[in-house]
Symmetry: C2
Subunit: 392 residues, 2 copies
């Protein structure tokens, strides 16, 4: 349609403004944004902010949490004092308060300086860059298979949650209160580390008890790959998380948030592009294809097959692979150690399979939503072949 | 071409990988990036990194400066110690050293947390958000017209440069050495504040003397609008700045840097998209049109006319407007005060002219590169009309 086409032309470099056309364009985009994003919104999250990429989505969602925290303290987010206005310009409190965001070891949330301060997966991302002194808690490390280690894994949840509470207390005393918690539903880059629904339910409760917001980063896990549109839907949270960020498969970055999180003043969260209308058209088509071809059902079907067969392989070859885990086709397993992983990867490559790694000894599956049972079989045959070759 | 088209399809959500196609795509994009960006690169800046937006361009360019600074200190940027690796994960020095970036009051460099720490234009951008304790110097405030206030303005340069040197010393003693300086060629959002070529030459010298890099933020001033492709070309710097960021008119964010700034390890600066191949095609066409229609010449011609007429108006109506300034069509003038500005803006709107503001009492011109003399006349007539109405 012509209004959409306009966005590709209005470069501000070679086209003059035309107010009527602009207004028509804005109306079209606004209704498109609503239509496209709200149809796949997490339950009870009716607000969406579009951004460019995952990092700036997390940066701005964190800003949202700071605004919300200060509003609770101050009673509003409109009556800024003269002192706040003045000190904010020079980076000093009270205008720029010393608030913090609690994050988890082995997390990955992006590589701009704010997002990097809550990222702890690899040294190469962080070396040489100054970072905020913010609290970092341990994320559960489960023993597998889950159904044989329930008691121990429950204790692991409790250990990590106790640390979260201690850190919130510690940073409050330190004068850097925790305004929000940022967490991945499955720590992807950190090694496909998962945590139980109960862990997330309790984490949300701790956040609420401490006036902190909960931001769930679904940049990797979002858009159907775990067998639900959003991975945190598995957690049965009693109320929605305060914010959910997305990017990657969603084509454009951004985040959903609850109505309560909305700042009173406009332009508190703003930038030049606020997303990309061109990508919106691609996303619209991606979501159409996902619905028409029932791709989330497909993910569940193929994921189940992959999971079953991987279980068989880990029981058959416990000296090579273990800790099969994940949801949908967002699956991973561990090699016995990092050397074994390297051997497996090379053998798989010889057999025509390119596969990614995460953490220190994990191998991760990240097929597209269109991945079929036939292709899953090809992969599983190759994996069996690679294991046999490694053991030979 | 089919390889380019592939980038619009490879959403990772619905299309499977195909290695040969992917390789062809990467080769095509790589040569496109080189061809498109290098033809308009600032002199002697042969490296380009593409990003998504202005904020993440500045964030990553700052990271580049931190890497470069630590390399000078350490002697290399490959042999990280065990302690550096370990502490970096927890945001602590020496892995995450307490380095700083020097910025200027009234600057604007973006609204992610790192970019915000070097932004000081408006409280609304910064309130409630924690920021790094980094040094902030005053940017020159000139008296106009320039040719009648040369002596005073020279002193203003020296005053600001002396402050830069003091702050570098102060933050070195504070244990937060300055790794880089970030500056706009014309402080755009802060009020179209300009500084002399000599100011920038001396600033570069101070940076060099202190092992700090110089990052010139051309997000607003880049891409021809000042009458040169890059505004800092007016400054006759003896050597190129270390980094130059761009976005907006360039369609895609990113930065140029000198060969010396290149990190030894790959993936030090990296993210999911590293720019947007789709936007590259639009930029290619924008640059073609700019060349075919000689739009930079046009900017110079129309800019000269605007400047001349604005000078006449300020001499004719000194109680209404003053301090006409700028380069190309990137021009601004001050209203007598902020109330007068409001009146002028409203009268201009009644006369069919929408115009932007910056700083506390400035009115800024930001026409597209295609803005013609005929349209400049329409604007100037309306401005004269608005001034007359305000005085009536």
């Amino acid at each position: 349609m012509p209004q959409i086409a306009f966005c590709f032309l209005n470069t501000n470099a070679i086209v003059l403004d035309n107010d009527r056309l602009k207004l028509a364009f804005i109306r079209t985009i606004n209704s498109k944004v609503r239509m496209i994003f709200i149809q796949v919104a997490p339950p009870q999250m009716s607000n969406v902010v579009t951004m460019m990429c995952g990092a700036c989505s997390n940066e701005n969602a964190m800003k949202h949490m700071f605004i919300s925290y200060q509003r609770k303290i101050r009673g509003n987010d409109t009556d800024y004092t003269e002192t706040e206005m003045k000190t904010s310009i020079t980076n000093l409190p009270p205008g720029c308060p010393e608030l913090s965001i609690l994050s988890f070891y082995e997390s990955f949330h992006g590589r701009t300086l704010g997002a990097l301060s809550v990222t702890h997966s690899k040294a190469i991302h962080k070396l040489d860059f100054p970072a905020f002194d913010w609290p970092i808690a341990h994320f559960p490390k489960y023993k597998y298979p889950l159904n044989e280690n329930m008691c121990e894994n429950d204790k692991e949840d409790d250990r990590c949650l106790a640390e979260v509470e201690e850190l919130i207390e510690k940073y409050r005393k330190k004068g850097k209160p925790v305004a929000g918690i940022i967490v991945e539903p499955i720590q992807a880059e950190g090694g496909d580390n998962e945590a139980s629904p109960i862990f997330f339910q309790k984490l949300q409760l701790i956040a609420k008890q401490n006036s902190a917001s909960l931001l769930i980063d679904e940049v990797q896990t979002g858009c159907g790959v775990t067998g639900k549109m959003w991975c945190h839907e598995y957690f049965n949270l009693p109320t929605p998380p305060d914010l959910v960020t997305f990017s990657k498969k969603m084509q454009v970055g951004g985040y959903y948030h609850t109505a309560e999180m909305k700042p009173s003043l406009s332009y508190r969260i703003f930038n030049t592009w606020m997303g990309d209308p061109g990508k919106l058209l691609i996303l619209e088509e991606v979501l159409n294809v996902m619905q028409q071809e029932k791709l989330i059902e497909n993910v569940n079907k193929v994921g189940k097959k992959l999971m079953n067969e991987l279980f068989h392989l880990q029981y058959e070859f416990p000296s090579v692979i273990n800790s099969v885990r994940g949801r949908g086709t967002f699956l991973a397993f561990n090699a016995a150690d990092s050397k074994m992983r390297q051997k497996l990867i090379l053998k798989l490559q010889e057999l025509g399979i390119n596969i990614g790694v995460c953490g220190e000894r994990s191998i991760r599956l990240r097929p597209a939503l269109t991945f079929q049972e036939r292709q899953a079989s090809m992969f599983l045959d190759a994996l069996r072949g690679a294991i046999t070759l490694v053991l030979a």
